[in-house]
Amino acid sequence: MESILALTHVDESGSLTKASLEIVTAAAELASRLGASLTMGIVAPDAKTAATTPAPAGARLLAVTGEAFAQARYASDAAACEALCRAAQATIVLAPTGSRFARVLAGVAYRLGGVIDTHLTAIGGAESVEATRWFYRQRIEGILSREARPWFLLLEAGTHAAFTADSADAQVEQVPVELPALRTTVSGLRAPAQGAQTIRPDAKLLFVAGAGWTKKQSDGKVHAAEAGELILGFLRLAGASLGSSKSLVDQGGDGQPVLPFLTHMNQIGQTGATPRHAKGLSTCCHGEEPHVVGWRFIGERRAISLDPNCGWTRGKADVVYVADAFEVMAKLNGLLDAHKG
């Protein structure tokens, strides 16, 4: 019989992260389907409050706690996860593919003689476990299974609903950890230097700016400043997250006018991010395949492009408006502003 461990961690407020709660749901579903035992593992400075949320799932609760675990750091997190896995005697370990666990769980899998698969978008199979993930940057979808155990399965965010139930008292078993000498200190988080927080993973809408924004417009001139104002204005008014094509962020190194608030962190596509948002609006972007693979997890897609033959028109977007994005965005911002007012 499989023994499932759901690995979770807390945010700054001490509650389980949303991605962790999604894992609680996924693990409960899988345990029920396989008739497997279920354990929840929590990594936190203090797990008392956090444990009350998954407690109603009825699983055994394990925690590694202490100040060393307030920071996301390889040496301490790997030791914590290793201890939880050993204590749970897990054969299947589920965890979110967030930065914290993605950093350490491959190492932990190695320490336990196990194997790992990441970025899973589904876990299927009737009596066995079948993991679905993308290969070649969201271009080929594969389903795989493994015989080796323990098997670490890291799920993408948004594949399951976050676990919700009324909080309940929790019996948490503390798992002791022997930490190695810690050589790394986490100093904290840094937002982009420009102060413009343009990446918002929780936003409903992704707004993507393509290279057309900084190309010559119909008057033969480049209007980078105006483009910047329109884009930032829209992000503020619509609460959208900002993505970019590679060609636009690459312009930073090419001596062309650039949008100063864009960095490679905004880049969507083959060599960029593959974010998850309900909707996506592309502007001034041709919709080439290497970029569009980054839209794999965007629900509804619309595009504004001057090119009626751009890539978006061929089954990559739901609606393509053949129009000047400068004009449309100015009108759009005006309407959104009026609505807010």
């Binding site: 390889y74 790992i116 990441t118 993973p201 060599t271 004009e327």
Partner: protein
């Protein structure tokens, strides 16, 4: 600065991003159709790692870069023609299968063995570099596995910056959720850094660098050891192209006003 570094960069070759990819299933499991024919490039994130490594080495006298790459000799040779003019490195080629469907654990075992056997490598000064994910498997686990195998417990992923200090410690910026960076300070080497994009532009082609590199690259390729990957217990149930294809409505004659109105409604709709 007196930090003589030994930087080992793990980097694979991947199909040029613009190529059309189509999965096929052969006797050895799934693969990409015509993979040997498609033009290849150095994995983009691993390439960032290589450029960052070269930059570090340039600023720290006495340092050295090795580029450890597992792949078919023919592909490696082809990719080296494009990469070797950019920065100086010593190529450590391992002749073996590459691609998204090979097992990361087996790949890591082969890479770790090759790195451990590098003549002249000082493991205390080691910075193990690579891409935080590849453009093939994209799992982001190989480098950690190699690091663990080499006993390195200071690991960083999604790195965009490393800044060395006088005392040999260094600060690392790692990408975390929400477009932010986590800043950490590590007391010193050895460490594993899986690079995201970094901050360096792609170096220009320097014919002299290329010429010097190629003198060692070609003999290294000739002597590349074959490696067989063990993939115990990994089964592919299916590999397929996505079928998602949308019916696109193309609006050619709407005024900006009308488009804006429609978009406001769309953005607001739940």
């Amino acid at each position: 600065m007196g930090n003589a570094l030994h930087v080992v960069v793990c980097a694979g070759t991947v199909p040029d991003p613009l190529q059309t990819l189509e999965p096929i299933t052969g006797p050895n499991g799934p693969g990409v159709k015509n993979e040997m024919m498609l033009p290849a490039v150095l994995d983009p994130w691993a390439a960032s790692a290589l450029y960052e490594a070269a930059n570090l080495v340039a600023r720290n006298p006495g340092s050295k870069v090795w580029l450890v790459s597992l792949g078919s000799k023919a592909k490696l040779q082809q990719v080296m023609m494009a990469v070797a003019q950019k920065v100086s490195f010593e190529l450590v080629p391992i002749d073996g299968p590459i691609g998204g469907f090979t097992d990361a654990h087996a790949t890591a075992a082969v890479l770790a063995e090759a790195i451990a056997a590098l003549p002249g490598l000082n493991r205390e000064r080691l910075l193990l570099f690579g891409g935080w994910e590849s453009a093939t498997r994209g799992a982001g686990v190989t480098l950690q596995l190699v690091g663990e195998r080499l006993g390195i417990i200071d690991q960083f992923q999604g790195v965009d910056q490393i800044e060395f200090r006088e005392d040999g410690s260094f600060e690392v910026l790692e990408r975390v959720e929400g477009g932010k960076h986590q800043a950490s300070v590590c007391m010193g080497t050895p460490a594993v850094l899986g690079w995201a994009t970094g901050n360096l532009a792609e170096p220009r082609n320097n014919p002299q660098t290329g010429m010097a590199n190629m003198r060692t690259i070609m003999p290294a390729l000739q002597k590349a050891k074959p490696a067989a990957l063990q993939a115990d217990g990994l089964h592919y149930i299916s590999v397929a192209l996505p079928k998602q294809h949308r019916t696109t409505r193309i609006e050619k004659d709407m005024t900006p006003d009308a488009i804006a109105r429609e978009l406001v409604e769309w953005i607001g709709a739940e």
